[in-house]
Amino acid sequence: MSTNTSTHHTSTIGAIGAPSRRNTELALLVFAVVIPVFAYANVGLAINDEVPTGLMGYGLGLGLLAGVGHLVVRKFAPYADPLMLPLATLLNGLGLVAIWRLDQSELLQSIKQAGTAAPRQLMYTAMGIALFIVVLIFLKDHRVLQRYTYISMVGALFLLLLPLVPGLGQNIYGARIWISVAGFSIQPGEFAKIVLAIFFAGYLMVKRDALALASRRFIGLYLPRGRDLGPILVVWAMSILILVFETDLGTSLLFFGMFVIMLYVATERTSWIVFGLLMSVVGAVGVASFEPHIQQRVDAWLDPMREYTLSRQGVAGHSEQAMQALWAFGSGGTLGTGWGQGHSELIRFAANSDFILATFGEELGLAGVMALLLLYALIVERGVRTALAARDPFGKLLAIGLSGAFALQVFVVAGGVMGLIPLTGMTMPFLAYGGSSVIANWALIGILLRISDTARRPAPAPAPNPDAEMTQVVRP
């Protein structure tokens, strides 16, 4: 505990060990399971006037998954953060309810957009928690990942390029970010996010001194040397290639943004953020000027009403989603229409995946969406806190990279659905329907919990100093 007391110019800093907090986690977890069960009953009462028959099944299913997750954390990561698991469980549970609620819509059933999505999502959740458990059991120390720095780079590139392989990759509605294996559609980008964070953390840990120190000062900015610009240029080029060939703004923005965040944290140089913003603006504008799919997304963002009218007139390649989502938010107002009483199914395509936030916006209103965004913010905050507490630079960078990627993803999706930025084909972590997203994000939470367990574990008692025993003090 306070044995490793150290000092600072103006303050005294002593270490405080945290208690394990597992019982707090359990209490919060029970709360996090009860809320979705309440919502589920509410949807049933609003739509069918009766408590849904599947209530016990979903409640027990979610409770069981959360309980198993908790027991594994108790056994294998006893000092881990008490908040992350309940927060993720709550978001996942609310997502399940919203997906089930959209399953009830006859409109969505008739266009094959929903109907059996909720049981599948519950299955994906089970797979996600299974991966979460595997991560906690087999990843005894996150520093092991450091050994796979360059293998991670190759792996991430492989995952990112998979959708471009002819025959394997699928072009679904303009974006080429899916692969199809044995009847399942997988978004490899979701997994690449984690693998890439491992690579960036390992790489920047080694190179950060060169990137931070060797620089010239120019108008208050540290300008890095030309050759140190190499890595950021490579990552930039890669994200531009993703943008051009997979026409997916979200994935591209996510990877470049994650790199810039980690670069900034590793080097403490604001100039990297300035460079990063400039480069992403140049890249996005440049690609948008010749890529029709991206262009169309930008047009739909600038004038969603025109897009809506064109779609209504039956012009191919246009969609009324964006406008319908905005209307959903609008009709929700401050307090929402209540579970099951909105009409977010009018979004039609992707109403339960990319656009699921609009359902929450309509049925829970501004108050509910704010609460959801705060839940995301709390997960990110716990991730950043983990990074602050981590003792090794690799763990710090990895935790920052993972929570940064998580935050960026929430921003890109929520911003897209609300019309703040052009729409991209990404999913709201945990809330949205989609196997890859749920599974990958549970793995991400698993890694963060592992780092936080290492960071919060009380430091072992300092080894007795052998010299002190040996030295004979000669007293005068």
Binding site: S11, I16, T24, F38, L335, N465, A468
Partner: protein, 170 residues
């Protein structure tokens, strides 16, 4: 289902959701860990931080009193009396205190005359505190004499490292 029931459920759900957020934030508030930073204020409230530090470390203290290692008249704290860190105190709890510019030292000296691992202060088996120079470039001085061997520290004797002076106090 009546309109009233649904309205109550709608508002009730939002209330429960926000309650969860508030409870989560309360957990964060009670979940302080890692490092405790105590501002060095004026002399008047100098007693408070120490009290806080004592609360933070009950197990060690209990362990110590049980072991009976702390003798009467033994120093309980190390105080920096000159230099950039003036006023910093470190409670002596049987641990080795390292001094130097290395960032993992117990007391990190920001001093051009200090070596990265300059000196260390530790208790011997009898609980007597010893200062030892770790082969520093500019030397460690106890009173006016440069240390060559590990030497017991009398109470209040100034130990000088570069511009920093520290002493042990009760």
């Amino acid at each position: 289902m009546s309109e009233l029931t649904l309205t109550v459920m709608r508002l009730g759900f939002l209330a429960v959701l926000w309650l969860f957020v508030i409870v989560a934030v309360q957990v964060i508030r009670s979940d302080l860990f890692g490092t405790r930073v105590t501002q060095r204020g004026s002399r008047r409230d100098a007693g408070r931080p120490q009290q806080a530090a004592r609360q933070a470390a009950p197990p060690q203290q209990r362990q110590q009193s049980a072991g009976g290692r702390q003798r009467r008249g033994a120093p309980t704290k190390l105080v920096v009396s000159e230099g950039t860190l003036t006023g910093t105190t470190v409670a002596l709890q049987g641990q080795t205190i390292t001094l130097g510019r290395a960032h993992d030292s117990t007391i990190v000296l920001d001093d051009d005359y200090a070596s990265s691992r300059h000196a260390r202060i530790y208790p011997d088996r009898d609980g007597q505190w010893i200062v030892e120079d770790l082969g520093s470039t500019n030397g460690t001085y106890l009173d006016r004499t440069r240390l060559t061997t590990p030497t017991p520290i009398p109470l209040g004797a100034p130990i000088r490292i570069g511009k920093t002076v520290i002493e042990l106090r009760k």
